[in-house]
Symmetry: C2
C-alpha cells in the first residue's frame, strides 16, 4: 500500500487529502495463479497496481502460437492501458503467473480521480509514458542480439524472475523455443 503511494509520488506531488481520495477508490483484488486479470475479446474493467506476485501479457499470433510479450513484477501498474482508457475490446491477455495481490480501480473510479485531482492527469501520463519507454527499452535487445545475449539481458533486467516463472514463458518472451532456451542455459553453466 505504501509502495503504491511511493510509486505515484515519484511522478508528482500530492497532498494527503488527495492521496486519501485515491486510496478510497482502490479495491483489493486477489488473483490466483493462472487466473486472468484481463482477457482478449473483453473490455478491461480495471487498472491495477501489483502489490504481490508476477503477471504476464500474452497474445496469440496468426499461427495460433501463444506469445508472452511482457512480464510485470510487484510494485508496478498492470494494465492494458490503451484498451482500458478507451474501454474497447482487448486483443491480449493479462494473466497471473503466481498468486497475486493487486490494488484495482474501476474505470468509473479512475476517471473520478482524474476529474477531481488537479494535476492527476499529468501524473498518469508520466506513469504511462514511463511504462511504455521501459517496455521499448527492455525489448530492444530482443531484436538485435543473439539468443544467449537476449537471455543474459533478461536475467539482468529481471533479477530473480527466472526462478518464479515457467521457462516456457521466458522462451516465448525471448523469441526462441523451449529446447533452445534449455540448451542455452546448459551452455552457460
Amino acid at each position: 500500500m505504501e509502495a503504491f503511494v511511493n510509486y505515484i509520488l515519484q511522478f508528482g506531488n500530492l497532498n494527503s487529502q488527495q492521496i486519501e481520495l485515491i486510496l478510497s477508490k482502490a479495491q483489493m483484488l486477489a488473483l490466483a495463479k493462472d487466473a486472468y486479470f484481463s482477457e482478449a475479446g473483453k473490455i478491461p474493467r480495471y487498472v491495477g497496481f501489483l502489490l504481490k506476485g508476477v503477471t504476464r501479457f500474452c497474445y496469440y499470433n496468426n499461427r495460433s502460437e501463444e506469445i508472452t510479450h511482457s512480464f510485470v513484477e510487484e510494485n508496478n501498474f498492470v494494465s492494458d492501458q490503451q484498451k482500458f482508457e478507451s474501454q474497447i475490446i482487448a486483443s491480449e491477455y493479462i494473466q497471473a503467473i503466481t498468486d497475486c495481490e493487486m490494488l484495482v480501480f474501476s474505470k468509473k473510479d479512475w476517471d473520478e480521480i482524474g476529474n477531481t485531482i488537479v494535476g492527476w492527469k499529468d501524473i498518469e501520463h508520466l506513469i504511462v509514458k514511463n511504462c511504455l519507454l521501459k517496455t521499448i527499452e527492455r525489448r530492444s535487445p530482443l531484436v538485435s542480439e543473439d539468443a544467449t545475449t537476449r537471455y543474459l539481458s533478461f536475467i539482468d533486467q529481471f533479477p530473480g524472475l527466472i526462478n518464479r516463472v515457467p521457462l516456457s514463458y521466458v522462451a516465448s518472451y525471448l523469441g526462441i523455443t523451449q529446447p533452445s532456451l534449455s540448451r542455452i542455459r546448459k551452455n552457460i553453466r
Copy 2:
C-alpha cells in the same frame, strides 16, 4: 504545413490563434541525406515534424554494431523525446536517410507553447503516447516471428519504404544480416 496542423488536431482542439502561435514558433529545417538530426553524446536541441523525407533512429550495441531500431516517414514527429524533454545527453542517433524537410521547435519555444496554450500538454502527451504505442506494435513481430514473416510485416507496415532506404538498414531493423535479407527476398520472388 497543413499536414502538420492536421496531425496535431487529431489529438485535440485548438483555435486559430493557438495554431498561429504554434506556427510562429516553428522553424524550417532542411536536412541533407545522411545528416544527423540528433546525435548520441549530445543534447537534442529540437523536436521536429517531418514534412518530407525519411529518417531512422540508430545506436551502437555493445559489440559496436550499428542497429537501426526505427524508421520515421513524412508527416510524423521525429524526436528523441525523453532526452529532448529532459535536455539530457542522447544515446542514439537520428539520421536523415533521404533529403528531408522538417518543421522544428527549440526547447525554449516548445516549452513556451506548453506554458501558453491551455490543454497543449494533454495533446503533447497523447502524441507521445501514440508514437510509443506505434513503436511497440511495430516491433512486436520482430521478436516472435521468423525472418521472412518479419520482412513481410515490414513491407506491410511501411508500404513503399523498402524502395527508399538501403537494404542494410532494413536488415538491421529486422535483426538479420544483409545476406540473409537478400536470400529472403530471393525466395519470395
